[in-house]
Point group: C2
Chain length 455, copies 2
């Protein structure tokens, strides 16, 4: 029995019918070379025999004296968690994305361990997919990604590799591996204020106080400048997931020609895609959109204290020229990083929490404050650089599936794998119609940047 | 814009994460004889072009002055409602039932019209399936079944037949076609009491008063005699669906040899299956289980006022001898029907509502009263007697998928089609483990009855 941390409780409170709070990952594999045509069905049969479930996948939510705790599920029903499924013909990526869109819209059963593992057959070209879904109160996005990587091996000949739910238990997680979780800093701030986070009203009151103080403080006044946009409406319960890989070589060529970083170019691609998407909806705000970007801020080589901050990146979506936009984005991000270099650990937590506080306040109370610190979340999670294999099946791509929330109807999370940048976009299907078009706009955005940089 | 009836509002109130309030139907079709192998994919492509959606399928929930109303969804996204999906190998009925179990566990998005139509390929033997899911506030189980039948034709040569969401609009439904809805009588009783059903507390208070009066009234005291059982625990959010066809000839032979009706024999099959299932769990109550059975009570030929009542059928699960059990069930149902013959319309509504009131009270308040009127719902909905076709595809079987609720963890709904009786069992997956075994127990129950009747 282990009590939930305040941050993990937050994810339970925030969850509602229109706003599930699970994160996911989509992995695309190719069959091992010598695999028979019914390879995926055989794999499914093998996986069904993996009935010993290790923490945290055997933990279900319970309550002790009104407080949420994790307890072992003594009646774990693997058939509920491990699902063998199929895509309809013609089994393209399009059908896979439709599948994930629908599944990611469904709440999970809170009486059971909060995860699902979907093994998906029916893809063309001897490929199959794995879609993993885990509640954010159980693991954060980065930890989920790390777990998915732990399932893999660099050795294509290795066999007998367990699925994610049967991996050997690791050294204690100590309440989260400290990845750049969107909310941990809010929890930390409130935790540090010496108050117990017992109830939603307490948390909301603390947040409001923190925000109001900050809005009068000249040092922080600049963070409340995001415009209103359709990205910041209430969400409905159904999601659209869109994902695609973009060549890292192309992105690197733009960096070199423009003197920017991979992250800058990726942000500029997002800026361009958002600009085109909103212009086509006749909904581009006059003021530039602001992206919230979690960043890792390790100052020295100590592995302790993987310090996390957020950058409020101005996407300069008001600028038509792609090269000019990239330069401004680059400059803004560098300035934000420089600012962090002079901040103490406590100041970083404070700044991060202030940035997130308006969103958290809205999510907890349903009240929409006039001020807003960002329009969209763009998160870049580092991934493996070498080929990964799972029982001989080669990982061809991996795409993060994150969370859309009220007033944050779009989340763009990306990761890297080998020579690819893998984008996963999740959004509210009604607030943001035809979201999948952003995949093309990202590509066009990269092409524009190439042209501007003379690549 | 059309306000929801009090009964339809009830289904919205009762719905919660662990207790979705939609009904469904599973239809199994065989390919037309001349169909190509990719028949289902072609059908899906055709269906995607059916973008004109007729009432009630274009109606979404909205609120006016705090009251729920149906309004037309002006941004209807057919891709959300019509889903083309596939079963994993080997594509047996087992995989189909797993699929429906998972889908039926998912809440629907309340911002959209509350229905889904799943076209399912990947079944063996040139078959495919349609699983339709509609919220109970939009249609009741019987109306849903009738709609599904309206989609069919007796003519295998007919083509160009629309799917259920594009059927021509019929004469006004006038708030429900009056099928044997489980809850309509409760709504009627409270409506007739002259009170507006504004809020849950009002309804609950009225129910409690009604129940307490009845428990002191000798005429009604006998209805509060159902034992406690595992069927009457709280449910969790995930469901198991099990379905199978049983030959009507076998059932008729038992009727003829024993002087009973088809309905009696079906009830005796259910009794036997429940007895075996509970005995295997070491959970058979000493007292007999009581089933709530909705019945149609039309007294004359007027098509007006399709009067609905409920029978509390004693299943005599305490009796080991199958023949004896059938006789007692037969006798009990005949007595219940005779009782109705002497009742006025108002008395029938009153009796029905009293029977349902304890369950409704519990569902609305979460409080578990000590008294209970029944343990399980067994519903028999008449179906077509002739072959049905949909654009040349022959309907091979149709199975109702109903609702499991707190304290009513199992629902057994059956229908008839041609020479088959089609059982659909829906239950809470955790409260009632391995529910699918009841399909075998139903079959064994029928075999026992055949042996007892000397068939």
């Amino acid at each position: 029995m282990k009590p939930l941390s305040p941050t993990d409780q937050l994810f339970l409170w925030l969850e509602k019918r229109q706003q599930p709070m699970h994160v996911g990952g989509l992995q695309l594999f190719s069959f091992p070379e010598d695999a028979p045509d019914d390879y995926v069905a055989r794999l499914a049969a093998q996986l069904r025999t993996q009935t010993v479930v290790t923490p945290p996948f055997n933990q279900r939510l319970s309550y002790r004296l009104g407080q949420p705790v994790w307890v072992e599920d003594e009646h774990l029903d693997l058939e509920h968690h491990f699902r063998f499924e199929a895509l309809p013909t013609p089994g393209r990526i399009r059908e896979l994305l439709s599948f994930v869109s629908a599944e990611h819209s469904h709440l999970m059963d809170r009486e059971r361990p909060l995860w699902e593992f979907h093994l998906i057959e029916g893809l063309k070209n001897r490929q199959f997919a794995v879609y993993t879904k885990v509640h954010h109160s159980l693991v954060d996005g980065v930890s989920a990604m790390r777990m998915a990587q732990r399932m893999l091996s660099a050795d294509p000949a290795q066999r007998g590799m367990p699925p994610i739910w049967a991996l050997p238990t690791r050294a204690p997680r100590a309440g989260g591996e400290g990845g750049p979780s969107l909310w941990r800093s809010v929890g930390q701030l409130l935790g540090e204020s010496g108050k117990q986070l017992g109830t939603v009203p307490t948390v909301a009151r603390e947040l409001l106080k923190t925000i109001n103080d900050a809005r009068k403080d000249p040092a922080y006044r600049s963070i409340f400048h995001a415009p209103r946009s359709i990205l910041n409406q209430k969400v409905t319960g159904s999601r659209r997931f869109a994902a695609q890989s973009y060549g890292l070589q192309r992105i690197r060529a733009v960096c070199q020609a423009s003197g920017t970083t991979v992250n800058d170019v990726v942000m500029a691609m997002c800026a361009s895609a958002l600009r085109t998407y909103l212009m086509n909806q006749d909904a581009l705000p006059q003021q530039p959109l602001i992206a919230m970007v979690p960043v890792s801020l390790r100052k020295d080589d100590s592995s302790e204290g993987n310090q996390v901050g957020v950058i409020l990146a101005n996407l300069h979506t008001d600028i038509a020229d792609p090269g000019e936009r990239l330069r401004k984005i680059h400059q803004g991000i560098r300035e934000a990083k420089d600012r962090y270099a002079n901040m103490s650990s406590g100041e970083i937590i404070n700044y991060t929490a202030l940035t997130l506080a308006p969103a958290a306040f809205h999510l907890l109370t349903g009240m929409a404050p006039k001020w807003q610190t960002f329009n969209v979340v763009i998160s870049n999670v580092p991934g493996p650089t070498e080929d990964g294999y799972w029982n001989g099946a080669k990982l061809e791509g991996m795409y993060p599936v994150s969370i859309a929330m009220d007033r944050l109807a779009l989340n763009m999370t990306l990761t890297s794998y080998r020579d690819q940048v893998e984008f996963g976009l999740i959004g509210c299907r009604r607030t943001l119609p035809s979201l999948q078009r952003m995949l093309d706009y990202l590509d066009e955005g990269l092409a524009e940047l190439e042209a501007a940089a003379g690549c």
